[in-house]
């Protein structure tokens, strides 16, 4: 019997018991659909995390102000102000001579005014190295320069979204914006940065709506803590300003983040430990900062992905195993039910091999069809998840091929025994069977 006839026979056998065939397939369908949907979700999350981590750069170490509370807060407040300070950046620079760049960041929130309408924005005080460290490119004009920092120039650079919000499609270069009471000249606009939609790494900010100013200016003119009481009288204000302008107190000013860029991703971990021991000493052991190593996050996320894959493979194997047992069960019942048919086929010339092949093909048709439906359901499910839950899902061809292949394999493995049973039916007995 040629293979096409055999497949046709198998198909018509399945079609004559539609409900039973469908129920038999269900195990495989759900198994395959679950695998594909889960792999798609995992893959989507992984790619998003990778994109975020790449965005941070893998050759950098982020030192970030940490929120402390309780007992630790009391201890931390003995040092005033607590958290990262501008002087920490200097100390890191002094110790880590191998570092390519040490870039301090001070994020403050201020109202920005173009014309009359005020708008709250995030103002980032930083140095010239920030553009290189954050892999941002200038679209128009220039970024902050060392000169701007040294001279405390009244200039600012707009992120792409900030520029759009403030100026629309107009050219902002040379225009003046009023930020937190100061008039600043716009000298540059950044290229838009792709940020992705994930909240997986909320550590990342949407850089596009930032406005960059020289860090020196942000240290003086802007306060990080809105809750910190500002002096209300003019003399007190002058006194505060004078105090802050002195170099010593400027060093004590809190900053939000220090980005240290090194030569390669392998240098990040040792650099981080150097920074940690340095800061632990100067902060007297109080961990009011955290160190984030994107290269390590990348490794962790790959590790997590591996575990996820193993768990999923286990779940998939179990559901396919259950599906396979269901198929075997039905096939064994079918062999008994069709004993007479087997006898007739043997009598008119079917060899044992013909019978084995017929029953194997029927099992294969069930599992492959189930696999196909499962693939469709899985892909559809992944799409539905990304539409309704706004998760990023990536359907990988590999997952489809592997799960379809495995469902075929299930057909072979669990179809074999019933097929052999069918072939070993004695034709004489089978013809007498009713």
């Amino acid at each position: 019997m040629n293979i096409l006839d055999a497949i046709q026979t198998g198909l018509s056998e399945l079609l004559s018991h539609k409900l039973r065939s469908m129920l038999t397939m269900l195990g495989v369908i759900f198994g395959v659909a679950a695998v594909i949907a889960m792999v798609s979700i995992g893959e989507g999350a992984k790619q998003e995390a990778l994109a975020q981590i790449r965005l941070m750069g893998i050759d950098v170490v982020h030192v970030r102000r940490a929120i402390v509370s309780g007992e630790l807060l009391d201890k931390a407040q003995e040092r005033s102000p607590y958290g990262l300070k501008y002087s920490d950046a200097g100390a890191i620079q002094a110790v880590c001579t191998f570092a390519k760049r040490v870039v301090p960041l001070r994020e403050v929130y201020a109202d920005v005014k173009v014309g009359e309408k005020p708008m709250p924005v995030k103002v980032v005080g930083t140095t010239a190295g920030y553009a290189a460290v954050s892999r941002s490119n200038v679209l128009r004009g220039r970024f902050l320069t060392d000169m701007d920092i040294a001279q405390n120039s009244p200039v600012c650079v707009l992120g792409a979204a900030a520029k759009r919000d403030l100026f629309g499609f107009d050219n902002p270069i040379g225009e003046t914006v009023k930020i937190g009471g100061r008039l600043l000249k716009v000298v540059g606009v950044m290229e838009p940065k792709e940020i992705g939609s994930a909240k997986a790494l909320s550590a990342l900010r949407d850089l596009n709506s930032d406005i960059y100013i020289p860090i020196t200016m942000s240290l003086v003119d802007f306060q990080i803590y809105s809750q910190q009481a500002m002096p209300t009288t003019l003399p007190a204000l002058r006194a505060l300003a004078a105090k802050m302008l002195s170099t010593q107190s400027r060093g004590k000013s809190p900053i939000t983040e220090i980005i240290v860029q090194v030569d390669s991703d392998t240098a990040t971990v040792p650099t981080a430990s150097v920074i940690r021991s340095l800061l632990d000493r100067s902060h007297r052991g109080i961990r009011d900062y955290e160190i984030i190593i994107p290269a390590e996050l990348l490794k962790q996320s790959q590790q997590t992905q591996r575990i996820f894959n193993i768990v999923m493979a286990a779940i998939a194997s179990i559901s396919l195993l259950v599906g396979g047992i269901g198929i075997m069960n039905i096939m064994l019942a079918t062999v008994t039910q069709r004993t007479r048919e087997i006898g007739v086929r043997r009598c008119i010339g079917a060899t044992k091999w013909d019978i084995i092949r017929q029953f194997m093909l029927e099992a294969l048709v069930i599992t492959c069809l189930g696999g196909l439906i499962g693939v469709a359901l899985g892909v559809g499910g992944a799409r539905a998840i990304s539409i309704y839950a706004h998760w990023n899902t990536v359907v990988s061809m590999q997952a489809i091929i592997v799960s379809f292949g495995v469902s075929g394999l299930v057909g072979v493995v669990f179809g074999l025994y019933p097929a052999v049973r069918a072939a070993s039916v004695d034709p004489i007995e089978a013809l007498r069977y009713s």
Binding site: M1, D5, S16, E341, V344, I348, G349, L431
Partner: protein, 236 residues
């Protein structure tokens, strides 16, 4: 060369530790073109002989040569092949596959013959048994006589030299049985060798030669006198 040569054929079955003989050594020759009826009461060994002649089983000892091939020592797949090419089976209970149309049932032996399905040949076989117009009916939609005609067409389709009927009229009324016998006679006239197993003397009377068995032995071997020639009533 004779079509069938049986020499000292023996078959016994093991039941527990007991060896139960079913066929105690029979010998006969059937020439090509003969029409033989095999008769005998139950327990006579005729079913056993039937299975052996049909290459469904192997003898314990003795020789069975079918169309110059020694079938007594063949393995399973060789016997499947010889069943497919040399023998057409017709059973008492028709044994058609219930979900297939008459045409597909008729095509079945061709599919196991490893050759191209030849629908024209299958239709021709159905025409020869007078069922040319009902080829797309399933067995459920056909009468007993019609089902048996399909079975005969299926037996014919690979053009075997030997047609085997195991009580082919056992499930049919007398008139229909006569019709079926007329088809067998027609096939025999066209050169096929026909062997039928029956316990109805009247049916056996349609053959040219009767072999009678009793207690696993050949009791008598005689030519039929006053042979009945079945002339079916014209159908309306």
């Amino acid at each position: 060369m004779s079509l069938i040569l049986v020499r000292d054929l023996k078959k016994s079955y093991k039941i527990g530790s007991m060896e139960v003989p079913a066929l105690n050594g029979v010998s006969f020759i059937i020439e090509e073109g003969e029409f033989v009826a095999i008769m005998g009461p139950s327990g006579s060994g005729k079913s056993t002989l039937m299975n052996l002649l049909g290459c469904l089983d192997r003898p314990t000892s003795g020789t069975y040569v079918l169309d110059s091939e020694d079938a007594s020592k063949m393995n399973d797949s060789a016997r499947a092949a010889i069943r497919n090419r040399k023998i057409g089976f017709v059973f008492q209970s028709f044994n058609l596959l219930p979900r297939m149309s008459a045409l597909k049932n008729t095509l079945l032996p061709m599919m196991y013959a490893n050759r191209r399905k030849d629908t024209a040949m299958a239709k021709d076989a159905l025409n020869r048994v007078g069922l040319g117009k009902r080829i797309n009916h399933t067995p459920m939609q056909l009468s007993g006589g019609e089902q048996q005609r399909v079975a005969i067409a299926r037996a014919l389709v690979n053009d075997p030299p030997l047609i085997f009927g195991d009580e082919p009229t056992g499930n049919l009324d007398t008139a229909t049985g006569t019709e079926i016998m007329s088809i067998f006679q027609k096939l025999n006239d066209a050169g096929k060798t026909v062997i039928i197993v029956t316990h109805e003397p009247e049916i056996a009377q349609h053959a040219k030669r009767i072999l009678r068995f009793r207690d696993g032995l050949l009791e008598s071997d005689e030519l039929v006198e006053n042979r009945l020639t079945a002339v079916p009533k014209p159908r309306e």
